[in-house]
């Protein structure tokens, strides 16, 4: 079980074939093998949310998942979501509201916020705080992030998105 095994997956729409050690977690695979360093590693045990990515449409902690478990899956990282424009309005709201300081939690925060907005069109502040409560931010005090997510939700509702 210690030898590299083949794995095939889609990352940000791009087919990837690689040989990986079975123990390699998805966060390290994205960062070290694919150089997608926007996926950050904060705690390495699934608490902080910095490594959040989307796997077949659902958000997961990439530090808690082995790369081989992503066999055949579609993984989307912050780089992919940025380039596709899917979260451009959310990113703009974060920029306007200064909803980040050091920016280390931000990729995970954005992906988690987008997940909420996909499922609930206009969540209230309580719901936003609860949905983001698995993503640690030491800098902002969270209020600016909640404001930015709330503003994005309202703008999308007005646009009928």
């Amino acid at each position: 079980m210690n030898a590299p095994v083949p794995v095939s997956l889609l990352v940000n729409g791009e087919p990837i074939d690689a040989f990986v050690l079975p123990r390699l977690n998805l966060a390290d695979f994205l960062r070290e093998n694919l150089k997608l360093t926007g996926t950050h590693v904060g705690c390495e045990h699934g608490v902080c949310g910095a490594c959040t990515v989307r796997l077949d449409g659902e958000i997961v902690r990439s530090c808690l998942m082995l790369t081989v478990q992503a066999q055949g899956a579609s993984v989307e990282t912050i780089e992919g979501l940025s380039d596709s424009g899917e979260i451009a309005d959310l990113q703009a709201a974060f920029r306007e509201r200064n909803a980040l300081q050091c920016g280390y939690c931000t990729p995970g925060m954005l992906i988690t916020a987008q997940d909420l907005l996909k499922h609930v069109s206009v969540p209230d502040r309580r719901a936003i705080r609860e949905h983001l409560s698995g993503n640690y931010c030491r800098c902002t005090g969270y209020q600016a992030i909640v404001d930015a997510v709330e503003a994005t939700a309202k703008m999308r509702a007005e646009r009928g998105v």
Binding site: E44, C48, Q143
Partner: protein
């Protein structure tokens, strides 16, 4: 926003048309972070880069009898396994003392332990391999023969003459003691009601989301070491690394791009970082060290850890007659280098009673060695301790004489027209605004309505509390902080500004960026003073090869010191530009101005020459300039405050919360802050600094504690067991401002980074006690966990 004093007439550069000063504008370069395209040190890879992991002691105190690394050396990918003894040949040990903290002592500390370990987590060997995983695999095959020694963990027991002495050569476990006796405390207390309490502050830590990270790259061909490090003080790292590796400063370059959180955690130089620099030199290749989360908990500096006995005297009319404290703080086995671990206790002595007018103050602070991780400066050094003790005592005094907590503060806070003045501990206050701040806070929170709501809910067995905490904050530190004590930590900062060949502006500043907005405030100031739009201003920082020499970012100095340097550099460049413009236009500098990226007539604003065109002439057609003109489209200025050793700021916080007396859980409902940081450069950034600071203070108040057992084992060294504030538990935080610019600089800015953390825990503790008043319970311990609250209520 309330402005207590209009800026002086000379502040005209701040009032220029299209000034960015005082305006909320988005930080430049945020898109990089928003798209996951930041450049953190943990992201960095270099050709031939090796990875180091450290084998760390499982014991709090032990002799290292033998290390057997033979099997590990043969593991795949292993490049080298290095012990403390072997690394000694490359790097010298250090002692963390400062001469102005008289009597402060510490023992020589090595990059990797030699012969003996003094806390659980101290490194005993470095494993360098082609990948971190390979290094970790090999680490498991190293066997270390330890002889366990008695661990001194309790800071009171450490001072017992019978206690084992951690560093025998030092004689005892007392690292530092300071006493102060101002006024006549005994006389003041003899005629007063007395209140006493023991305040207990748990150890907590910074938990930066990106752990400490270093890539050290010794290039033997150039005889130069490049250190990529997430640090707040690049020039300090340069100086220290050079000193202990036997290099000249010019042989060391420190580069710091994006930093995933710092808060004082990354203003120090850690033994494992020193070891990484040394390993790169030893092995002649780049070496990367990134702490994992368990290592972060065990080796990032811890903070606070105080037991403070406090006394206050009060008369029936509410007059506070005296404060007295006896503070004990545990710092681990070494005073941290180079800032030392005595600064916090020193600050506590300086700051207790600070907002209040009483002249009678007696203090003793003792700093004690223990076999626990090192304790040192973290955001708002000493402030939360001083504020919690002071404000806890003031509330207890109010309760004793049956006075409202607001009223007792009104009667004792230093009057807003009493400045300049000094505190009993000798701190010089240029101008503070306690009363204006308190008045504004009460308006914002609608104090009377909250009191009425509290009373109505109490009748329904719902227990809510209001806590108020006034505070003072040390910012803009001069050389009095470290320089006078012999530490090579610069208190001045420099900014170089130049006009490029297309009329854009490049700034190089010695302050650093960790997300607080240093780039933004620099660009805002330079753009405003020069009359150039912010989009045309690019800021470079965090690189000792490419910035002026300076202190970096700590103790809330970026805006006040680095901002003033930027202002002065921009003024100088502006003068240079107008001089050359006058020569080109056959005019005089006084008749010209720069607005919207172009030189205009000062009188009527008519455009004369675009900066782009001016730069083109200067750089590419200097032959067309009049004889004798040598344009200097670059200017550098440095700044440090000289008149006041620190710019004190002030503020007041209030917490509104509910205590569930059945479960002991606290629900934060709302938090208010009024703060006076002088000139505000970017209101949004200031407010977010304060909010972030408040939440760090709330973490200390309710959740965060490094829990050690009696053998010095840290029992909750992970983010699942060590609780940090998450969005679900945090309240909305409302911020207001009073503005008293410092007259020491033209900009008038003071710091705002510590303010939130300084007062949050005190406000929460006072609010919890306010909520529990019907039960006759008083708690003077943080974190206020359900266990602490239920114990105070007699339920467990």
């Amino acid at each position: 926003m309330t402005v207590t004093r209009a800026p002086a007439d000379t502040l005209s550069v701040l009032d220029r048309p299209n000034s960015y000063i005082g305006k909320t504008v988005p930080r430049p370069n945020l898109d990089r972070l928003l798209q996951g395209r930041g450049q953190y040190v943990s992201d960095l890879e270099l050709p031939r880069m090796a990875h180091v992991v450290f084998l760390r002691s499982p014991h709090a105190h032990a002799k290292i009898a033998a290390i057997d690394a033979d099997a590990a050396t043969r593991m795949p990918g292993v490049i080298s396994i290095v012990t403390g003894r072997e690394l000694e040949a490359v790097i010298t040990p250090w002692v963390g003392v400062l001469s102005h903290l008289k009597g402060l002592k510490s023992a020589p500390q090595h990059a990797i332990a030699v012969d003996r370990v003094c806390w659980q987590g101290e490194a005993v060997a470095a494993i360098v391999a082609t990948s971190r995983a390979a290094a970790e695999d090999a680490m498991e095959h190293i066997s270390v023969d330890y002889e366990e020694l008695e661990a001194v963990t309790d800071m009171r027991a450490a001072l017992d003459p019978a206690a084992s002495v951690i560093h025998a050569a030092l004689g005892d476990n007392l690292a530092f003691e300071r006493t102060l006796d101002a006024g006549d405390v005994d006389l003041a207390l003899s005629g007063s009601e007395l209140v006493e309490a023991d305040f207990v502050f748990g150890r907590h830590t910074g938990v930066t989301l990106e752990p400490r990270a270093v890539v050290a790259d010794w290039n033997p061909a150039e005889a130069r070491l490049t250190i990529y490090q997430g640090t707040q003080a690049p020039h300090m790292v340069q100086n220290i690394a050079a000193l202990h590796l036997g290099l000249r400063e010019a042989q060391v370059r420190v580069v710091c791009k994006d930093v995933g959180g710092s808060f004082g955690i990354k203003v120090h130089i850690y033994a494992d970082e020193m070891a990484t620099y040394a390993l790169s030199k030893l092995l002649r290749r780049p070496v990367k060290f990134v702490a994992d989360r368990v290592e972060s908990f065990n080796t990032d500096i811890h903070a606070r850890d105080h037991r403070c006995r406090g006394r206050i005297g009060v008369r029936p009319d509410g007059t506070i007659t005296a404060f007295e404290i006896d503070d004990l703080t545990g710092i681990g086995p070494y005073s941290m280098y180079p800032r030392t671990s005595a600064i916090e206790a020193n600050q506590v002595v300086n700051l207790v009673g600070g907002p209040y007018a009483t002249a009678n103050y007696r203090a003793r602070a003792r700093v004690v060695f223990q076999n626990k991780n090192v304790m040192c400066q973290y955001r708002a050094v000493g402030h939360p301790i001083a504020c919690s003790v002071t404000e806890g005592l003031v509330d207890l005094a109010a309760a004793k004489i049956g006075m409202d907590p607001v009223e007792i503060r009104r009667r004792n806070l230093i009057a807003d027209d009493a400045y300049p003045c000094a505190s009993p501990s000798g701190m010089k206050f240029e101008r503070l605004s306690h009363h204006a701040s308190l008045t504004k806070l009460l308006q914002m929170m609608d104090y009377d309505a909250l009191r009425a709501e509290q009373a109505a809910l109490r009748a329904r067995n719902v227990h809510r509390g209001i806590g108020i905490a006034s505070f003072i904050e040390v910012t803009n530190p001069s050389a009095a902080f470290y320089g006078v004590g012999g530490a090579k930590i610069s208190s001045q900062d420099g900014v170089a500004v130049r006009l490029d060949a297309q009329g854009s502006v490049i700034c190089q500043t010695s302050i650093t960026e960790q997300g607080q907005g240093s780039e933004s405030l620099t660009a805002q100031i330079v753009g405003s003073v020069l009359g150039v739009s912010m989009e045309r201003v690019r800021v470079t920082l965090g690189d000792t090869d490419n910035t002026p020499y300076g202190g970096g970012t700590w103790a809330s100095r970026g805006a006040g010191i680095g901002g003033e340097a930027a202002l002065q550099a921009a003024k100088a460049l502006r003068e240079n530009i107008l001089n050359v413009a006058a020569a080109i236009l056959q005019s005089t500098p006084a008749e010209l101005d720069i607005v919207d990226n172009g030189v205009v007539n000062a009188a009527d604003g008519a455009p004369r020459i675009d900066l782009n065109e001016l730069a083109r002439i200067v750089y590419f057609r200097p032959d067309t300039l009049p004889p004798g003109i040598q344009p200097e489209l670059m200017a550098t200025r440095h700044f440090v405050p000289r008149q006041y050793p620190f710019a004190f700021t002030n503020g007041v916080q209030a917490s509104w919360l509910e205590v569930d007396t059945e479960t002991g859980f606290v629900q934060l409902l709302k938090h208010w802050v009024v703060e006076d940081c002088g000139t505000i450069i970017n209101p949004q950034l200031v407010d977010e600094q304060i909010r972030g600071g408040v939440v760090q203070g709330l973490g200390a108040a309710l959740f965060e504690k490094c829990i050690y057992d009696e053998r010095g084992q840290l029992t909750n060294a992970n983010m699942a067991d060590y609780l940090v504030p998450m969005s679900g538990e945090m309240p909305d935080i409302e911020i207001g401002h009073v503005v008293s610019p410092t007259q020491e600089s033209e900009l008038g800015a003071k710091g705002a980074g510590e303010a939130g953390t300084a007062g949050a825990a005190a406000a929460v503790a006072n609010a919890v006690n306010d909520a529990l008043r019907p039960f006759g319970a008083t708690i003077t311990e943080i974190p206020l966990t359900p266990q602490v609250i239920l114990t105070a209520l007699g339920r467990i």
